[in-house]
């Protein structure tokens, strides 16, 4: 019951704020929305801790959704450790972001709309994580997509915001189609898309095959691949990541909530949720590992050269999601969910702190026009340091526990892909530390590069924005320590209680605490080196970056332009599609398809004119024609009878 309240309170808030917002005014609408979130943020974590106490998983049934032949889909809430942990995290972080938004959006004209979207988003996310079947998961999955579209395009007067919003929705849709097909394939193989039925019968279908591309594939592999492509879209993995950096067009709290803490983690959640199936799809999981590792490294390299403060953090998110997929790919789903939770705290913190910087700088986002802000906005600077320490994995902050576990897991996989992932993630850890401190140094330290008009107005944010930052800092410091034992430590089997499945041959989770010392220290050393390099380049010798950019212009531009993914997609998808569309319309439809009937009409008109000439008026000619007609008819009749 408490659990259901946690899920539906945000919906109620969203409806009140969205439908009545104009009538009751901004304050009341915000009040309703924040109140809904407060209720959720009390009920959600409570439900989680209650479940940890008594360990009794269950489902809350809400009714039937679809009932078609064998296909039965219900509306229901799954209450197990994985879902409950997600509900607790989502509702709590979302509540903080709602509170922060009260301050951040205080000058906006349509706050009721903003809060309605924000609460609706939270509801969709909660539906996603509490789904008891894949269709309901898809409902939440698409719901967060819609809300993300609405929130990115919140400032709809800006053409760039509209473009980014459409891009986000469409790229997500590209991935959703394979997901939907994968869902259909699950139904075909298992005759159900309810989790309990599917998971219980996985072992019976390991030998099933599915015919595709002219050969037989194990059906479970096909499902694994299709679902993962869906996850790639939502979680912005290499190839389908292009929407995430552009999504920074939305207001900053949106970036914090959607593009850091919650929505983008849906793909990781899906992998963990489907672990009973993915564990029997070794090729698919190897693919997951490769994509995750590549993304972690790719995004980190791009992050090093961005100048927009939010974009740096966005690429950092992309990279951290790669880490989570590495863990899922090698079979350490527990570690990936653990990183998901800790990451939610410090990444939300980083984004909100960046928002606080932007707020202070009169909406300036370019780090080249910042510097030396530490003494003006000390609290923001302090929480930003905490967030980055956690992100870089410096012990004992949250990130160090979860990130180290992932890197260790990649090492322990003892496979080729595992080694590749290990190398990528360690290298990415170095780059992560580098770009994080680059961000800190460029923003808060050194000499100020902003013009003095802006500097005169620099001010610390109001309390309503600082309190959420401080609460998140506490999470960023202690979440790792506090949750380590449950999520990946010695209590993990008891804690997860079967919500996450590990193949009996997969012993990574048992060995994760007994890795060689060198492996355990690798990320820390990489991180410290990264920080040192950033210090050297941005504090000690600040002229170095410009020299580097000049001498290695090719590399610099390649990274600055994000490996030219956008340009590539523009060339091979967007422009040809526009051209084909026009061609299909003007030539295909108007000339060819429509040309035939129009041409026939013209012929008919022409021949009618000819036929007129046949009407000579001579009775004999008519009679003769009729006679021929009768003969032909009778002939046909006799011949074919």
């Amino acid at each position: 019951m408490v659990y259901a309240i946690a899920v539906f309170a945000p919906l109620v808030g969203a409806l009140i704020s969205g439908l009545l917002g104009k009538a009751i005014g901004d304050r009341a609408a915000m009040g309703a929305s924040v109140l809904g979130m407060l209720i959720a943020a009390i009920c959600g974590p409570y439900a989680f801790f209650a479940l940890v106490q008594d360990g009794h998983s269950s489902t809350v049934d809400l009714g039937t959704w679809m009932e078609v032949g064998k296909l039965h889909v219900s509306w229901s809430l799954r209450y197990d450790p994985l879902s409950a942990a997600m509900v607790g995290m989502v509702s709590f972080v979302s509540m903080l972001i709602h509170v922060y938004s009260i301050g951040y959006m205080s000058h906006d004209a349509t706050r009721w709309r903003f809060f309605a979207y924000l609460s609706l988003f939270t509801f969709a996310m909660l539906m996603l994580v509490t789904a008891d079947n894949l269709a309901q998961l898809f409902f939440g999955w698409e719901g967060v997509g819609l809300c993300s579209y609405l929130l990115i395009g919140y400032w709809y007067e800006k053409p760039s915001a509209c473009a980014a919003a459409i891009k986000a929705f469409v790229v997500n849709r590209v991935a959703d189609l394979p997901f939907a097909v994968g869902l259909a394939l699950i139904f075909m193989v298992f005759g159900s898309i309810e989790f309990s039925t599917v998971f219980a019968n996985v072992s019976k279908h390991t030998a099933d095959s599915y015919h595709l591309f002219g050969r037989d594939f194990p059906a479970l592999e096909a499902i694994g691949f299709l679902l993962f492509i869906g996850a790639m879209g939502k979680s912005a993995q290499l190839g389908l990541h292009v929407w995430l950096p552009d999504a920074m067009e939305g207001p900053t709290p949106v970036s914090a909530l959607i593009h850091a803490a919650t929505m983008v983690t849906a793909g990781v959640f899906l992998m963990a949720r489907m672990s009973p199936l993915m564990e029997f799809a070794p090729c698919a999981t190897a693919f997951v590992t490769i994509v995750g590792a590549s993304t972690a490294l790719f995004a980190a390299t791009v992050g090093c050269c961005q100048n927009d403060i939010k974009r740096v953090i966005a690429y950092s998110t992309c990279s951290q999601l790669g880490y989570m997929f590495v863990a899922a790919g090698v079979g350490a789903y527990q570690a990936s969910v653990f990183h998901l939770i800790t990451h939610a705290f410090f990444k939300a913190l980083l984004f909100l702190a960046a928002g606080s910087v932007i707020h202070a700088m009169s909406d300036e986002q370019d780090m080249r026009k910042m510097g030396g802000l530490a003494k003006f906005i000390p609290v923001t600077c302090a929480v930003m340091w905490i967030g980055n320490l956690a992100l870089a994995g410096i012990p004992p902050l949250a990130g160090s526990y979860s990130k180290d576990a992932i890197i260790t897991a990649a090492y322990l996989a003892h496979s080729n892909v595992g080694s590749y992932a290990f190398a990528c993630t360690v290298l990415a850890a170095f780059l992560t530390a580098f770009y994080s401190w680059r961000l800190l140094f460029m923003t808060f330290h050194g000499k100020s590069r902003a013009d003095h008009h802006v500097m005169e107005h620099v001010h610390e944010s109001p309390l309503v924005m600082l309190v959420p930052l401080l609460v998140l800092s506490v999470g960023a410091i202690f979440a790792g320590m506090a949750l380590n034992g449950w999520f990946i430590g010695h209590e993990q089997e008891h804690f997860w209680h079967g919500a996450i499945f590990n193949n009996p041959h997969n012993e990574i989770m048992h060995h994760i605490e007994h890795a060689p010392l060198s492996v355990e220290l690798a990320p820390l050393i990489a991180g410290v080196l990264g920080i040192a390099l950033a210090w050297f380049m941005y504090i000690s010798r600040p002229e170095l970056p410009a020299i580097f950019a000049k001498e290695h212009g090719g590399i610099y531009r390649f990274l600055l332009n994000k490996w030219y993914f956008d340009e590539l997609y523009d060339r091979i998808f967007v422009r040809p599609m526009t051209r084909i569309a026009r061609f299909a319309w003007k030539i295909g439809d108007a000339t060819i398809v429509d040309g035939v009937p129009n041409g026939l009409a013209a012929i008919a008109a022409g021949s009618a004119r000819q036929a007129v000439k046949l009407q000579t008026g001579s009775l004999a000619a008519y009679a003769f024609t009729m006679l021929i007609g009768v003969v032909v008819l009778v002939g046909v009749f006799i011949l074919f009878r």
Binding site: W141, E157, M188, M577
Partner: protein
């Protein structure tokens, strides 16, 4: 003319609009009086018909697979042709769709139509009779007559109250659909000669020779494919939509497009199972082409109505894929998609109509930034856009999803390519929405544009409710056709199995 319940409900629903039409004809007075009275008479008539059809909704027994509310009246006993009415799970909801959309159309035309109001309302009532009669007919000849008669009022609505190129559009509409119909008449005669009757229930049990099935199939295909419309017989549709008045577009997209698909599931699939099975790949191919090709064409459009018209072709492509998967999920998905499309595309045409009534332009570039002045409009537009792209929780999702599930059981590529509409639909609809609703207002006359009026709210309210209801609790609709479709699928597979057995028997 009595049925088991002792009351000819279906005939009443079918013919009552004509009675309303007669009343409208008898109105005397100056032009203004006639117009006002004609509107109110038409509205009340259609509302009474709607109320009667709700009785149908309540009394219909969904556990029964066959025809209910049967009526039979000897008409041409010598030829074993009778006036027969009845509904089963497949048709009953389409009767309701017609009776729901008609009052909405009449209300939507309230201010938009100012000339020849009497004739306009009369046409709509005649149209309602013909639509409902077509879905209720259980005799092929009766069906054929209604099926053809629908053309006439629609032709008039486009040709008289349409836009500048209305005559071209109306004639094109008429000729395209009529050409197909001639072939259907041939098929009808052949089937009558073979079976000795035109009773649909009997025809369904009649086994036509396999060779004969092929040409019958294509003869019917010619008629239904044009009506659906399937690619490449679709070009009449954008023209008809663009020229038709708003309400005409609503009824055209909402009900008339469903006639073709209804024909497939009522005649082609159950009566000609071997041919349907054998030529299903042809249908799939045309459908996939329709989905991809018309979605692309929709993307290039500069006229709002044309864009939505092309999107209709793409959505109907999903329907034909679903119908020819011959499994429960596919067929139910197709039926659901038909209903959902009826509601959603109707709503989208009304959405276009709202701004057309104010600015008198359908050109997309003419708009922009409406969200500022028309927040309620923007909200509804978003809702129906999302329903059109199949967002879960709205009507559009269920059908599309079920069709993908059904199609995958047949062929992976059919599911994937047929599902491409999910992506392309999002592209053209969001692009449309962006250009019309988002951005800033640059045109002067848009600065004072008014948001929805109470009458417009009344028009949209039922459609909003239906869109969400159909998305959140589809069982209340699928429950109606569950049994009928199950029986149909069973019947189909039994027929195919017996043909295979027969063929094996001959080779041994």
């Amino acid at each position: 003319m009595m049925n088991a319940a002792g009351f000819p409900l279906l005939s009443l629903i079918t013919w009552l609009p004509l009675v309303g039409g007669a009343v409208i004809l008898s109105i005397r007075g100056d032009e203004e009086t006639v117009a006002v009275n004609a509107r109110w008479t038409a509205l009340w008539t259609s509302l009474i018909v709607l109320a009667l059809s709700l009785v149908l909704w309540v009394k219909f027994d969904p556990r029964e697979a066959g025809f209910q509310f049967n009526e039979s009246l000897a008409w041409l006993p010598h030829y074993r042709i009778a006036y027969k009415m009845g509904v089963d799970g497949i048709s009953v909801l389409f009767v309701l769709l017609s009776t729901v959309l008609t009052p909405i159309c009449i209300l939507a035309s309230w201010d938009a139509i100012q000339t020849k109001v009497r004739e306009y309302m009369l046409s709509f009532l005649i149209l309602e009779t013909m639509m409902v009669g077509m879905f209720c007919a259980t005799d092929f000849v009766v069906f054929y007559m209604f099926f053809e008669a629908v053309l006439i009022p629609m032709y008039l609505i486009i040709g008289i109250w349409g836009g500048p190129r209305r005559v071209y559009a109306a004639v094109k509409f008429f000729l395209f659909t009529l050409t197909g119909s001639v072939l259907m008449l041939l098929a009808l005669i052949a089937m009558w000669l073979q079976a000795g009757t035109t009773d649909i229930a009997v025809l369904m049990e009649t086994r036509f020779p396999v060779g004969m099935q092929t040409w019958l199939f294509f003869a019917l295909f010619a008629s239904f494919a044009v009506k659906v419309p399937m690619w490449p017989f679709h070009t009449w549709l954008p023209d008809a939509h663009v020229e038709a008045p708003t309400a005409g577009s609503v009824i055209l997209a909402g009900v008339l497009l469903k006639m073709g698909a209804y024909g497939f599931i009522r005649f082609s699939i159950p009566m000609l199972p071997d041919a349907a099975q054998h030529y299903a790949p042809v249908i799939w191919t045309l459908s996939v082409v329709a989905v991809v090709y018309t979605s692309l064409v929709a993307f290039a459009q500069e006229d709002m109505k044309k864009l939505i018209a092309y999107s209709s072709v793409a959505h109907m492509g999903v329907v034909t894929i679903g119908l020819f998967t011959f499994n429960e999920q596919g067929i139910q998905g197709a039926l659901y998609q038909m209903l959902a499309h009826g509601v959603v595309s109707g709503a989208l045409f009304l959405i276009v109509g709202v701004v057309y009534d104010r600015i008198h332009s359908r050109e997309i570039a003419r708009y922009g930034g409406l969200a500022d002045r028309m927040p309620a409009y923007a909200l509804l537009f978003m809702l129906f856009t999302m329903a059109s792209v199949g967002l879960p929780g709205t009507a559009g999702f269920v059908g599309e999803f079920l069709v993908i599930v059904g199609a995958l059981q047949v062929n992976f590529w059919l599911a994937l390519l047929g599902g491409l509409g999910m992506i392309l639909g999002a592209v053209y609809m969001l692009y449309l929405y962006r250009r019309v609703v988002f951005g800033t207002i640059t045109k002067d006359d848009l600065k004072h544009i008014l948001d929805l009026s109470p009458r417009e709210w009344a028009v949209f309210a039922p459609l909003i409710v239906l869109t969400l209801w159909m998305g959140i609790y589809p069982s209340s609709f699928t429950g109606f056709f569950d049994e009928s479709v199950a029986a149909l699928v069973k019947h189909h597979h039994a027929a195919i199995a017996s043909t295979v057995k027969l063929a094996q028997g001959m080779t041994h």
